[in-house]
Symmetry: C2
Subunit: 159 residues, 2 copies
């Protein structure tokens, strides 16, 4: 699957492909993609934006699955641990991963206007952050990189 970025596209394909890929990843990892976890992933895949845990919970309830907060947090934690979703720190929210299965460090492009999130891959060790870490004798284990701005669709709508 290619970068969808902010371009319009056949979105039902995103959902199906994402679920199928998640199934393969979990099978390969010996992890259990239970109906609940699969449903939460489907909720995230249904949008190219980040959802708060309580938004996910609300979707679950609307889908006929009444649940309490820990249910949503645990499912989201599973998805994040297995690389099927990411947590966006800036938003206290979660987004389905666009590159699941590939070992990658994500950088998120978050549109202030419409909330859309695009995920780009990068090499944290290669660029300026890696250089800064080496200069400080710091060993990097994980990087959060989140850019806020405006996506091309929103700039076209209100330039």
């Amino acid at each position: 699957m290619d970068e969808t970025g902010f371009a319009t596209h056949d979105h039902s394909g995103c959902i199906e492909a994402g679920l199928a890929r998640a199934g393969r990843i979990c099978a390969a990892a010996g992890a259990r993609l239970t109906p609940l976890r699969r449903q939460v992933l489907e909720i995230l895949l249904a949008e190219h934006r980040a959802l708060g845990a309580y938004e996910v919970l609300e979707h679950l309830r609307q889908n006929g699955h009444p649940a309490q907060p820990p249910v949503a947090y645990r499912a989201l934690d599973f998805l994040v641990r297995h690389g099927l979703a990411h947590r966006i720190e800036r938003l206290n929210a979660f987004v389905a991963c666009s590159h699941s299965g590939r070992d990658h460090a994500p950088v998120f492009l978050i549109c202030r206007a419409c909330g859309a999130v695009a995920e780009a891959g990068w090499q944290p060790g290669a660029g300026q952050i890696g250089a800064a870490a080496r200069a400080h004798g710091f060993r990097v284990e994980a990087v959060v990189a989140e850019a806020l701005g405006t996506c091309p669709n929103c700039r076209a709508a209100a330039p």
Copy 2:
């Protein structure tokens, strides 16, 4: 003032210099560094790590200034708006700025073991994030870059 990074140093100098610099910056900007705001900045400057708003509040109270949460949040918001402190999204916490006065985009190196935070400057537009944004037609307005890992001191202590 130079990068202190994770190196040991005369820390009382950090506090005095930081307060003096903040005074100059606020005077130049026509902003009011009131006693409360100055006290909160001093609390942050006293540590090279990020403090949660409620930790700041606790320090305020111990310093003989009983206060409610909005007091801490408003002072922290002032400091962040004027570039005297930064919010670390990953930690829901705040840290005194090491580069205040200079126009800069910060990248934070956060030690998992001891909580120390070093702040390095970078050029978000120049590297991979800028390239990714351009490739997506995305206009970047602000970047959060936070690296978690281990600082040289902690690696020396427990390699």
